[in-house]
């Protein structure tokens, strides 16, 4: 922190030319504070949504848990729905970074690449199934602002599946006549279904993966070229 350059600057008389103007300092300070508030709210909300559910959590509780005022929560987020959306976005960014790293190295048949890809999802999300179900449910919530991105509006997962299928078409184990988007939608529906199983039947990642493997197998029967 105490680099020589910094000391040298500090030692100079503050004539308003070498230091940034006070207004700029204040505004960047505000930005940093806003960022800190945002992160504290997100962390608190994730914890509360996970333990007591999305419906059962109020903005007031989130504010108290984050140690900020209700007012400052509302200067950053328009509604609880938007907080949920940001919580998920932050989590999913990590997941997609992991997938972007792994996917190019996957070899083998399309069905196996799809299975691996979804297994990575389950390993990543299974501790937070209540959160994930709330994320899906919020897509239908009237009170959700247009800026929020519930499940189905996260295009990255769909892109990854499409890339996987395109590679299959090139490799010859996916029927080129098949409508890709329809397969994507079926896989997404199967994926979402698995979370319901997790939340309602307390299934773990291995059980989810086993169910999803069977579902992918069944869908693959439909996209495998007829010999």
């Amino acid at each position: 922190m105490s680099s020589p350059g910094r000391i040298a600057t500090d030692a100079l008389p503050d004539d308003g030319l070498l230091s940034p103007p006070a207004a700029v300092v204040a505004s960047s300070l505000r930005r940093t504070q806003k960022e800190a508030t945002r992160n504290r709210v997100i962390d608190a909300a994730r914890e509360l949504f996970d333990t007591q559910g999305y419906q059962g959590t109020t903005i007031r509780e989130i504010a108290r848990h984050a140690g900020v005022s209700v007012g400052s929560v509302f200067t950053t987020f328009a509604s609880k729905g938007e907080i949920l959306s940001q919580v998920m976005q932050d989590r999913l960014d990590g997941l997609y970074a992991e997938l972007d790293r792994v996917m190019p190295h996957l070899r083998g048949a399309t069905i196996e690449r799809l299975r691996t890809m979804f297994a990575i999802h389950f390993a990543f999300e299974v501790q937070h199934t209540r959160l994930f179900l709330a994320h899906i449910a919020s897509a239908y919530d009237w009170t959700l602002p247009p800026s929020a991105k519930p499940m189905g509006k996260t295009p990255r997962l769909q892109e990854i599946i499409r890339e996987c299928l395109a590679k299959g078409v090139a490799d010859g184990d996916v029927d080129p006549a098949i409508e890709t988007q329809e397969i994507v939608d079926l896989l997404m529906a199967a994926y979402a279904w698995a979370y319901r199983l997790a939340a309602w039947n307390d299934a773990n990642a291995a059980e989810l993966t086993a169910v999803m493997d069977r579902q992918i197998g069944l869908i693959a029967q439909g996209f495998t070229p007829r010999s």
Partner: protein
């Protein structure tokens, strides 16, 4: 015990001729349900409160709570009524089908037609159905199970006719039901027509049946 016997007696007479009180209670329930249906359709499940519903029905919240335990109970009652009617419509549609694919498609189309005029309510149903708290009760409600078993039934008949192999019947039926449901967001948010929904459903049925078809 005394109390239970009294209720029993009241129910016995109501079976012959409904008492004035039973009739009044029935009317109250019907009024609450009608108001709730309207508000859920206008404001969604999250947006509609018991207080709003009570005032729309012209009664106190206490009177609402005397008939329904909470909002999710009220919503489930509406869905259960609708889905019993939907199951009838699907059964009728299935009777006109020829072969598994055509029959399933007719059933799904009957479902999309049924909800076409009440998509906001369907949207509320998805919101509740996915909720970790209220979802299981709705998904396990008897009429929903009936819809699921209608699909199982069709696959079973397909096997009997020699159209399908009996592989993974339960999983296939569940995935067909989920595929049927998965098209609602297109109807709700993107205004898909009945024709577009049917085209999509037809392709989905083909994909999901492909592995069980007899060559």
């Amino acid at each position: 015990m005394m109390h239970a016997t009294k209720i029993q007696a009241a129910e016995d007479t109501s079976a012959k001729a409904p008492t004035r009180r039973a009739l009044a209670k029935q009317q109250t329930r019907a009024k609450v349900l009608a108001a709730a249906r309207r508000l859920f359709s206008e404001q969604g499940y999250e947006g509609a409160t018991i207080r709003d519903i009570a005032s729309a029905a012209g009664m106190s919240t206490g009177a609402v709570f005397a008939n329904f335990t909470d909002k999710s109970d009220l919503f489930r009652e509406i869905m259960v009524t609708d889905m019993a009617a939907l199951a009838d419509a699907m059964r009728e549609a299935a009777a006109r089908g020829a072969g598994v694919e055509d029959t399933l498609l007719r059933m799904f189309a009957a479902g999309y037609a049924f909800y076409r005029s009440q998509l906001p309510l369907a949207r509320a149903a998805f919101s509740v159905g996915w909720s970790p708290e209220d979802g299981p009760a709705l998904r396990n409600a008897a009429p929903v199970q009936v819809l699921n078993s209608l699909i199982v039934e069709q696959l079973g008949q397909g096997v009997e006719r020699g159209e399908l192999r009996p592989d993974d019947l339960a999983l296939r039926a569940q995935m067909l039901f989920d595929a049927y449901l998965s098209n609602y967001p297109q109807a709700i948010f993107e205004g898909w027509t009945l024709e577009a929904l049917q085209d999509r459903a037809r392709d989905q049925i083909r994909v999901l049946l492909a592995g069980a078809r007899r060559a």
